[in-house]
């Protein structure tokens, strides 16, 4: 009696099947990378299509762990990524609140100038930035690795828009209770902005963790390398042919912390990517 399926459901199934197929297709290179990371380099010099059959090896990962500085590099990446994230959150929140709530002369112009920063690619400012940091003696320091990432126009924009959307009534109620502007900001506004903070924090962390160009320019002592830079430095000149397994193991190794982060903050990341902000 109910054997007939509504045409709309067929379409839904079709979309679902296509989505799954595309997801599998998208995942294939990642699976390929993972499997190659367990293959001997000598074998990969001959062929890369024996994925599921032996031989397998853990040597590529062993070589990573046996690199004496690898844990230092992980530590550096953590310090840089967490430091940059914390400071971006602080600065973007303060600036965003100022732009959203405080009237001051030239506010629109200053805000426009900040937003214009979104159009400036990182590569275009690397040389002047490098020169400036050299003059200040900040290369090969954590400050040197963290500070350039603090100019975060996207963060200011995001927080400004989010704060604008919070009803002013809440602040006015607090003002009636004699709360100072700072108290209102910290005790009323900030807790309400947690979803936006999480979104901004995740993007900032991922950006800092994966950054290669600035650490390459600023960190010239191997003990100050971040993980991405340090792992790259261990590659031989022709790694794609003579050390492919090691190369793949490095890719997996560098991605693990980010995957762990994704596991913890999946809800916010999905919401952030969807552009709706988690509620």
């Amino acid at each position: 009696m109910n054997a007939r399926v509504h045409p709309g459901r067929w379409f839904d199934h079709l979309i679902l099947a296509a989505t799954i197929a595309l997801a599998v297709l998208w995942m294939l290179p990642l699976v390929w990378v993972l499997l190659l990371s367990f293959k001997p380099n000598a074998l990969l010099m001959e062929r890369t299509d024996i994925l599921f059959s032996p031989p397998f090896t853990l040597k590529n990962y062993g070589d990573i762990f046996n690199t004496s500085l690898v844990f230092r590099w992980i530590g550096n990446s953590c310090i840089v990524a967490l430091g940059q994230t914390a400071l971006v959150l602080v600065l973007s929140s303060l600036a965003g609140y100022g732009f959203a709530r405080i009237e001051f002369r030239g506010r629109k112009w200053v805000f426009a100038a900040v937003i214009a920063g979104l159009a400036v690619p990182q590569t275009s400012v690397v040389i002047p930035l490098h020169r400036m940091f050299a003059d200040l003696g900040l290369h090969n320091t954590y400050a040197g690795l963290i500070l350039p990432g603090l100019a975060a126009p996207f963060g200011v924009f995001l927080m400004t828009q989010y704060f604008k959307a919070i009803p002013k009534d809440l602040e006015e109620a607090a003002l009636l209770d004699n709360a100072s502007r700072w108290t209102i900001f910290v005790r009323v506004i900030l807790p309400l902005s947690l979803p936006a903070q999480a979104t901004l924090g995740i993007f900032t962390f991922l950006g800092a963790w994966n950054d290669y160009l600035w650490p390459l320019m600023s960190a010239t002592r191997s003990e100050m390398y971040t993980l991405s830079l340090g792992l790259a430095s261990t590659q031989s000149n022709f790694a794609q042919s003579e050390g492919l397994g090691f190369l793949m193991a490095q890719a997996v190794f560098a991605a693990v912390p980010v995957l762990v982060l994704y596991g913890f903050f999946q809800k916010y990341i999905v919401a952030a990517v969807a552009g709706i902000g988690a509620k």
Partner: protein
């Protein structure tokens, strides 16, 4: 309350961290003379971090690591060498930024093909006096190595190795096609006609292409091969001046025609990038791979793998002379000193002593497959005892790239290779494509000539 405290704590902690993260926080106490050495080749501390005997190390990374360890362990002048390892692909980007920021390493490795760009901008120290002071004799440099570091009569670097274009051979397949002499040695073509005949015979016998070519995303492959074939005809790409390339010469046309014929007849493989090309060769999909000296060690190792297509059947030789004179593309790794890279006379002396150490250890590096730059090492029995090396000795004399007086060689080779590649792979019209490449390169070099000031221009001969 909790939010207030957390926010203040985070802000306070980070500001404090930044304030106390002083520029010299990580500087080590340096009671001795410390010099930095910026290099690529990767880092392999896991395997060779404590090895001080280069003979116990393998590969470029292993041997350069062991050499640095050995220098630190054996020098009696209290010198501490601090290698700074940078990924090959990003090396020059970082070096450029460091020069602008005046964060200069004492010694840098570079390619001779970029040496003149740095010398032209007066960034490098001429080293003749320094060489004399520590006992480095440039008279022992091979002719190719001497050409690679001598700009306008001054030597700007220590030549560390010569790497060149070789034919890597699958002897097993060549034998199967009957392309071997009665004594078992490989039948080497001596003219374009012989090459085509042998390649056709090979394909008819095996069904495989004679050549493994690196045709995808590898502009240098075409540029290096073209340079080789043009030089073998006694031609040059820069007959008039170092800023004016000539791609309309008969030599260029003949070289292109040969390459086109090989490719169009399926005598060369299609669709391989660098890594795939090597895999194809190792898997026995072609008889000859045109590639560099740096692969000798790895491919020779494959010849020891049971069941490998190369098992007991790998050989190599310099790019054979197909025209009137021997020539093959070559470049060098060289060791240079940036102006201002050493802060005082003690550091300068230490850097020169490290160069002397590398000069003395030239034989150790030869085990990588790269060729020594000292004639005495090339002629030594130890070098000639290494696999295939006696056959490679002529590279020290006949290896040639673009003349040192030509600026921006990497970019020039890239434009040239793209042009040649589009003609061969995609059948683009020869005249129009070469004319476009000529224009691009000439414009590039004329823009660059503002840095030359006519001081460093040497005769434009290969």
């Amino acid at each position: 309350m909790m939010w207030s405290c957390a926010f203040k704590a985070a802000a306070g902690a980070m500001l404090a961290w930044l304030l106390f993260s002083s520029p010299h926080a990580w500087a080590q106490a340096a009671p001795r003379t410390e010099i930095s050495f910026a290099r690529f080749f990767g880092s392999c501390e896991a395997d060779f971090g404590s090895v001080t005997d280069p003979a116990l190390a393998t590969g470029e990374c292993g041997i350069i690591t062991a050499l640095a360890n050995r220098f630190n362990a054996t020098n009696t002048d209290g010198i501490v060498l601090r290698p700074q390892v940078i990924e090959h692909g990003s090396y020059y980007n970082q070096l450029g930024a460091r020069i602008i920021g005046r964060d200069l390493p004492a010694i840098i490795i570079m390619h001779s093909s970029v040496l003149s760009d740095f010398a032209r901008r007066e960034l490098l120290e001429p080293l003749d006096e320094g060489f004399q002071s520590v006992g480095i004799s440039s008279a022992d440099f091979t002719p190719q190595a001497e050409r690679a570091v001598n700009i306008g009569g001054r030597r700007y670097a220590l030549p560390f190795d010569t790497h060149a274009w070789l034919w890597h051979l699958n002897h097993n397949l060549l034998k199967q096609a009957g392309l071997v002499n009665p004594d078992g040695s490989v039948l080497v073509p001596r003219s374009p006609q012989e090459l085509l005949a042998q390649a056709r015979r090979f394909k008819a016998a095996t069904g495989k292409p004679y050549f493994i070519w690196l045709t995808v995303n590898d502009a240098p492959f075409f540029a290096r091969t073209l340079m080789t074939l043009v030089h073998q005809q006694g031609g040059t790409l820069f007959p008039k001046s170092p800023t004016e390339i000539d791609l309309r010469s008969r030599e260029v046309r003949d070289a292109l025609e040969l390459m086109q014929t090989m490719y169009n007849e399926g005598l060369a493989s299609h669709g391989h990038d660098y890594a795939q090309g090597i895999r194809a060769f190792v898997a026995g999909q072609g008889a000859v791979m045109v590639n560099g000296t740096w692969l000798i060690g790895d491919l020779n190792k494959q010849a020891t793998v049971r069941g490998s297509a190369l098992e007991r059947g790998y050989a190599t030789l310099p790019f054979p002379t197909l025209f009137s004179q021997p020539a093959m593309w070559a470049d060098n790794h060289v060791m240079a000193m940036l102006k201002g890279g050493t802060g005082n006379p003690a550091e300068r002396r230490a850097a020169l002593l490290f160069l002397k150490f590398l000069y003395d250890e030239g034989g150790a590096w030869a085990r990588t497959g790269q060729l020594p730059t000292r004639q005495s090492v090339l002629d030594s029995s130890a070098f000639r005892a290494l696999p295939f090396r006696p056959a490679l000795v002529p590279i020290g004399q006949f290896g040639a790239g673009l003349p040192l007086s030509v600026a921006r060689q990497s970019r020039v080779a890239s434009i040239l290779g793209d042009g040649v590649g589009s003609i061969i792979l995609h059948g683009k019209p020869v005249d129009a494509t070469l004319a476009r490449a000529e224009r691009s390169i000439t414009q590039l070099l004329q823009r660059e000539s503002q840095f030359s000031a006519g001081r460093l221009l040497a005769p434009a001969k290969p």
